[in-house]
Symmetry: D2
Subunit: 137 residues, 4 copies
């Protein structure tokens, strides 16, 4: 299992007239979580794209338990529970507020695709070698 | 069953550098679908809020089958399969492109809440009387 | 002078906790205005990009006179006052609400660039021949 | 003069199919700049709203000199050149990339408004006493 946390400050733009973060904006918080998750491994999603592999989202599920509000400093926890063995990678992601209350919880499935052919491909070696130590038995 | 369709034109702002609509922006397309779904019944979500009932999203699931691209004129189909009997309402939603290809498919669960107390409440009468004819018999 | 109008419905996502449209979202309304402005000429910005010319925004000015609110059906008026003679094109843009009150007024300067070289280029012939009739003395 | 800097990492969601940050998203970067500018004074915009004063944007001007790209760690510089003496406050704001190149430069005029009456009001005392030392002769 590989787990990573990062923080995101809620922007005014991200609130709506219900005085909470608009439900669609968590997709961005989750994105930030995944990107920093990879950066903390010593690699970057940007470098992966430069090497010819993109990671489009294929499935996204999220539950909203409590609201995030303006200026909250949120913690996004991103977990990879299983080492990818094919073109799929799944992140479990949670958002906590400063009182450590769980606000949302979700799951995101992404595919590794060759950016030219748009065909499925395996997890890039650069990422595998950094992830593997967290899953060795 | 009550079913409604509406159209949304993809904005440049909604694309990302993968040359497709960013996965998080479908939440807005789904929102537009639900809002027009209610408007086509002769009521509006805006009026519902004015009457003291808000509808926050509690669960959101979406699958991405094909990409939407810039300037596509998308069709959002929103379906209410069961007449709400308590504080919950569920929409099944799909997005199609101009070639009538299914791009994404999802499910959104919302609660009816009293906007002052934030307590769960039943579906407003104004909405119920318009929806019921589609579920009788 | 060439003038065009189009309509945009305010989304919930576009409001903020001040209960009005977030100031940054008008850039999208203006984008929609320009895109429909070109489409009404019988050409599209999408086709222009496909032909190898992109139009990045170089300057953007906007004044906020009155607020737009949720579910408002806004009218975006886009005006080209002078026929472009080089790589620059300027749009004057205004947003009105349903009571025909002026909400915002702005000016957007864009460049025509070759999408490969990113060098400045002239207005594509396909656009010029459609715009010229509105400026002939 | 009071000057403040903060950093913003470009999100994938903020890029568009031109492979750069969408022009409308700088309004959010500028917002983050202003919010952190106030926080660095030991006060927060959130507290100001809680005390009954809101700061809507009234004018916004921006020039785009160079593009920001995905994953860039941008520096937003926010400057208050003159101590507000009435309901108006003006920020000059600039965005730099990691090579310290100036990407965009802009100016934002905001009003202090009473959040209940929506009437113009003066800068809150809590903010004034923190800003004044930077402007004393």
């Amino acid at each position: 299992m590989y787990e990573s946390t990062t923080q995101v400050r809620v922007r005014y733009a991200e609130t709506d007239q219900m005085n909470v973060v608009y439900y669609g904006n968590y997709a961005q918080y989750f994105e930030v979580g995944r990107v920093e998750c990879i950066r903390q491994l010593g690699y970057t999603y940007k470098d992966m794209e430069a090497s010819g592999v993109i990671m489009p989202v294929v499935e996204f599920q999220i539950k909203y338990l409590r609201s995030a509000t303006y200026d909250d400093l949120l913690t996004v926890k991103s977990t990879i529970r299983e080492l990818p063995t094919d073109h799929r990678i799944e992140f479990h992601q949670e958002v906590y507020n400063e009182q450590n209350k769980l606000l949302t919880s979700g799951k995101v499935l992404l595919y590794f695709l060759d950016s030219n052919t748009k065909k499925r491909t395996n997890m890039p070696e650069e990422l595998r070698k950094r992830l593997e130590p967290y899953f060795n038995g």
